[in-house]
Amino acid sequence: MTATPVLRTEHLSRRFGGLNAVSDVSLSIPEGETVGVIGPNGAGKSTLINLVTGHLKPSSGRVLIDGRDLTGARPWVITHAGVARTFQIVKPFRGMTVRENVAIGILYGPHGVRRMSHAREQATRVLEETNLADLAERAPGELSVADARRLEFAKALALRPRLLLLDEVMAGLRHREIESSLELIRTLKTRGITIVVVEHVMRAILAVSDRVVVLHHGKVLTEGRPRDVLSDPQVVEAYLGHRYAQRRTGGS
C-alpha cells in the first residue's frame, strides 16, 4: 500500500438541505483494482460519483486523484486528470452521430488529439471495441437501450482513462447484454484500468469486483471481499429490511 492510490476520498460529505446524501466517506482505491459500490436506492452512490467528478461540490472532505487534491475542481479538470465516467441516465449528444459522440472525448480528453481525421480514426477503433462499429453513422436516438448504454461506455473509453467510474451501466439490460458488458469490464481490468462499478445488478458486481463497498444512508456500511459482504447481516438488513434479516440469521 505504499503506492499512491488512484482515487482517495477523505471524510467526503455532501448535504442537500437537511439530507446527508453522502457523509464521511473515506475510500482508498489502488491502481488496477475494481471496486463495486452497492447500496439501496438513495444510498448516495451517484452522489459519490458526482462528488469525485466535480459535477457536485462537496460540503466537506477531500478528493485526491493520484495524490493530487482535486476537491471541487471542475468536471473537465477531473477528466484531464485521467478520470472518465458514465451517467446513470444516458446523456448522448443527440444532434451528432454515434461516431461524433465518441470523437468528442478523443478531441478534448486528456490526450487531446487535434487533427479531426485522427480523431475520427480513433473513434472508429473505440466503436469496434465496444461493438458499435455498425452503428457509427446512426443518431443516438435510433439506438436500443442496450446500445445507448454501450455508447455511454464508449464515450468514457474514448478518454482512455486510468480511472473509470461506471454509474449503473447495466440497468435495464437483459441477461446476454449484461454478459457482454461484463466481458468488456474484464478486458479493461486486464489493461490495468482502475474501475469503480456502481450497480444494482448484484450478480454483475460479484462477477467483476475485487472489493465491494456498501453505502447506506450516505455512509459506508461495510466493505470487503464480495462474498463476505453479501453474507454480512448488516447488508442483508439494509437491502431487505430488518425482519427479513432476522429470519435469515435466525436472530431474536
Partner: protein, 331 residues
C-alpha cells in the same frame, strides 16, 4: 462513388466561391435602390451568421447581440470624430473592442442558461444604450453623432453605394467562412456537445466556460465589424438605431427560419427574410409588417427546425410532408 466522395469536401468551397462571384457580377446589373437592398441583405447575412455561432451551434440565445453592433458603430464614430482615426483603423479596432466586451460580459453571463441568459444579455444591451445616450460630450447623446465624411475633416473618403456593397459583401463572406470553419472544427464539436448536454460535454473534457467565452467574443467581433461599417454608411447615428432591439430580433428570426446550428441556415434565412420584407413593403405598403409577421409565424409552425434542417431531414428520410414534420417536432 469513390471519386464523388473525394470531391465532396470541395462542394461548399466551390459553391461559396461561385456565390461570391455571382454577387460581384450582380452589382453592375442593379440600379441604386436595388443595390442598397442587396447591401442590406449582405449586412444581415453577416449578422445572422455571427449570432448563429453561439446561439445556433451552442444553443445560447443572446437577445442583446445588438450591443456588439452598437459598440462597433459608436467606437468608429467617436474615434473618427474625436481622435481623427481613419475608418479602416476604426473598423478593425471597433471589432476588437466589441470582441473584448463580449469576453468581458461573457465570463459572468455565460454561467446563465436559456431564458436567464437571454434576459441578461438583453439587459446589457439596454444598459449600454443608456450609457451611450448619457455621454453627450463623447457620443452626442440622444441627438446622435455625425461622422466626418466630407471636406478636410474626413479621415477616409466616403465609400458610396458601390463601396459599401463590396464591403458588406466581404463581411458576409467572412462571416460565412468563419461559420463554416467553426462547424467543421474541434470547437464546432464542442459547441454542439454543449448545446445537447453541457454536463456531459464537461465530462468529456471540454472546458465549457472557455469555449463559450471565446465563441461569444468571436461572435462579438464579427457583429462589431458590421456595426462599424454600418455607422460609416449611415454617417449620422443615434443610440436608438444602433442599439435597436429589432436588429437582434431580426438576427434571431433569420437564423430560426433558415435553420439554426448550420452554415447555410443564417444565409438562407437572411436572404429570404430581407427579400420578402422588401417585396411586401413595395407591394403591400400599408400592411407589410402584418403580412411579414403572419408569414414568419406560419413558417415557424410548419418548419420549426428551419428550412435547411427540414430539407436535410426530408432528403434523408424521403418524408417531405409538412404535417409529418410538424408532428415530428411537436410544437
Amino acid at each position: 462513388m469513390a471519386a464523388a466522395a473525394r470531391w465532396k469536401p470541395l462542394v461548399p468551397w466551390v459553391s461559396g466561391v461561385l456565390l461570391l462571384l455571382a454577387a460581384l457580377g450582380l452589382q453592375s446589373q442593379l440600379y441604386s435602390g436595388q443595390e442598397r437592398t442587396v447591401t442590406a441583405i449582405f449586412m444581415f447575412v453577416a449578422l445572422a451568421q455571427a449570432w448563429n455561432l453561439l446561439g445556433g451551434y451552442a444553443g445560447y440565445a443572446s437577445f442583446g447581440q445588438v450591443v456588439f453592433f452598437g459598440i462597433g458603430g459608436y467606437f468608429t464614430a467617436v474615434a473618427m470624430t474625436h481622435w481623427h482615426l481613419s475608418f479602416w483603423t476604426c473598423l478593425v479596432l471597433g471589432g476588437v473592442v466589441a470582441a473584448l466586451f463580449g469576453a468581458l460580459i461573457g465570463m459572468p453571463l455565460l454561467r446563465l442558461r436559456g431564458h436567464y441568459f437571454a434576459i441578461a444579455t438583453l439587459g446589457v444591451a439596454e444598459g449600454i444604450r443608456e450609457v451611450v445616450t448619457n455621454l453627450p460630450g463623447l457620443t452626442g447623446g440622444g441627438a446622435g453623432i455625425t461622422l466626418p465624411t466630407v471636406g478636410d475633416q474626413a479621415t477616409t473618403a466616403y465609400l458610396g453605394n458601390d463601396g459599401f456593397y463590396l464591403l458588406f459583401l466581404a463581411l458576409a463572406a467572412l462571416a460565412v467562412l468563419v461559420s463554416g470553419l467553426v462547424a467543421g472544427s474541434r470547437a464546432g464539436y464542442a459547441l454542439r456537445a454543449i448545446h445537447q448536454d453541457e454536463q456531459a460535454a464537461a465530462a468529456m473534457g471540454v472546458n465549457t466556460t472557455r469555449i463559450k467565452v471565446l465563441t461569444f467574443a468571436l461572435s462579438g467581433l464579427i457583429t462589431g465589424l458590421v456595426g462599424a461599417t454600418y455607422a460609416f454608411q449611415q454617417v449620422t447615428i443615434f443610440p436608438e438605431r444602433l442599439f435597436d432591439v429589432d436588429i437582434t430580433v431580426l438576427m434571431v428570426v433569420m437564423v430560426v427560419i433558415g435553420g439554426s446550428g448550420t452554415v447555410l441556415g443564417p444565409l438562407v434565412g437572411a436572404v429570404i427574410l430581407q427579400f420578402l420584407s422588401e417585396y411586401l413593403r413595395q407591394n403591400y405598403t400599408s400592411y407589410h409588417i402584418f403580412l411579414l409577421g403572419a408569414i414568419i409565424i406560419v413558417a415557424v409552425v410548419l418548419l420549426p427546425q428551419g428550412a435547411v434542417n427540414y430539407l436535410r431531414d426530408a432528403r434523408r428520410t424521403g418524408e417531405y410532408s409538412l404535417l409529418a414534420n410538424v408532428r415530428r417536432y411537436r410544437l
